[in-house]
Symmetry: C2
Subunit: 245 residues, 2 copies
């Protein structure tokens, strides 16, 4: 894999948004290289060469290997936990809507930073102790909030009564795995928001009761009636086929 980057020259009035974008892109591409070649065995010089930028520019943007690890934990694990905390506490949403918001939030984060997510998982064993603690704590919090959303959905009868832990980890698996397969250029131009919507739909379908599967007011009873008609058609065919005896 060869990646060429053009770093725009610094100039007066260059927008912060533009700098932030370049910075994010360099972080993401460095993470991809670290993940591919092994964090411990790859120097900043190797990464700078591969990205065809100067070591100084690279250092300017990612600030060395240790700060990169810190950025992974702060920008991914901690922000995910904080995002889920807000969603879990949002009383304006019912539990099913909270589950949808949680999956959209997690998947969007991962699809926007797939290499960094992979590198973080690969580097869990190499985190400095304080950062490892922070990472572990944030991960536990995220799981707790997701479980509490799922539990609320079960109590409200919107989600099936399943092992709460297995349900949470299954949802996490769908979201997290996005880091291993999603590349817009390889997935027919699929956009981040489309992937997020797909995964949210799949997660909800996997956990919801038939009541939860029916629309909660948004699409109205007409949609529910369509679903029931299809079910009845199927049942009729199945009885005619002799499965009913």
């Amino acid at each position: 894999m060869r990646m060429v980057m053009t770093i725009p020259p610094k100039r007066q009035g260059q927008s912060n948004a533009r700098r932030e974008l370049v910075s994010q892109e360099i972080l993401e591409k460095s993470s991809a290289l670290f993940a591919e070649r092994g964090f411990a065995n790859t120097s900043l010089q190797d990464v700078a060469q591969a990205l065809e930028i100067s070591r100084t520019s690279l250092y300017h943007y990612i600030g060395g290997k240790e700060p990169l690890l810190a950025e992974l934990v702060h920008g991914l694990t901690r922000e995910t936990a904080d995002g889920l905390e807000k969603i879990a506490a949002n009383e304006a949403l019912d539990p099913l809507e909270r589950l949808e918001a949680a999956v959209l939030d997690m998947t969007t984060r991962i699809a926007n930073k797939p290499s960094r997510f992979r590198l973080l998982l690969l580097s869990e064993g190499s985190l400095p102790p304080a950062l490892a603690d922070e990472h572990r704590t944030a991960r536990k919090r995220a799981l707790q909030y997701l479980r509490s959303i799922i539990r609320a959905g079960m109590e409200a009868g919107q989600l099936r009564a399943l092992d709460e832990n297995v349900a949470a980890f299954s949802v996490l698996g769908m979201c997290n795995w996005v880091a291993w397969w999603y590349q817009p250029e390889r997935n027919g131009g699929l956009r981040v928001e489309q992937v997020a919507a797909y995964i949210a739909d799949l997660a909800i379908a996997s956990l919801s009761t038939s009541a939860g599967r029916l629309p909660t007011g948004k699409l109205g009873p007409q949609h529910a009636i369509e679903i029931l008609r299809k079910d009845l058609d199927y049942l009729e065919r199945s009885l005619k086929g002799g499965n009913g005896s």
Copy 2:
């Protein structure tokens, strides 16, 4: 993490099954240590010390670091692809049953060897070229078979018409993530076959149409009628609640 292992003395008549079991346990525990400490930075001597066995015993069971990598690719990626190939070609099963069999097969493999699965994912960048090729090819085959099962299910009307690729990767995510959370002692004694059955149920629920969600003869129309009754109860409540206007 400190792991103590007792290696049974070799003796005449020792059963192959017993030796195989010890061998599998050592492979799994070495993989956990390599994954935790980084493959490149961990010597066989470090692993032997951590497992409190001699370097000679360890070498006897895992045959060095390179053979361990080969075992990961052969015992995981290739066997998974071979397993899915058989299932995809099994005409005795309908597509939904093939999807169920595929998820059971993949999840069982991963839940039995979680550390090895994690190590394989962490080591993808360190595989020798020939092994990397083999791994890549087997992974592509596995994805192909899973997609063909899902496509057949969509054509048969048992699975929803979704992006086939997203559907396949979402199922893979649920299965693969098991390697990161499943530990029987931490999950209330949840057995491998229980995890596999849970994940299969969640995967099927996520992808199936309402027709696919209804029983295909096994549980009979009585079960289908119960599902429809619940749907109708829900619809009635929702209309009474004023969502129907």
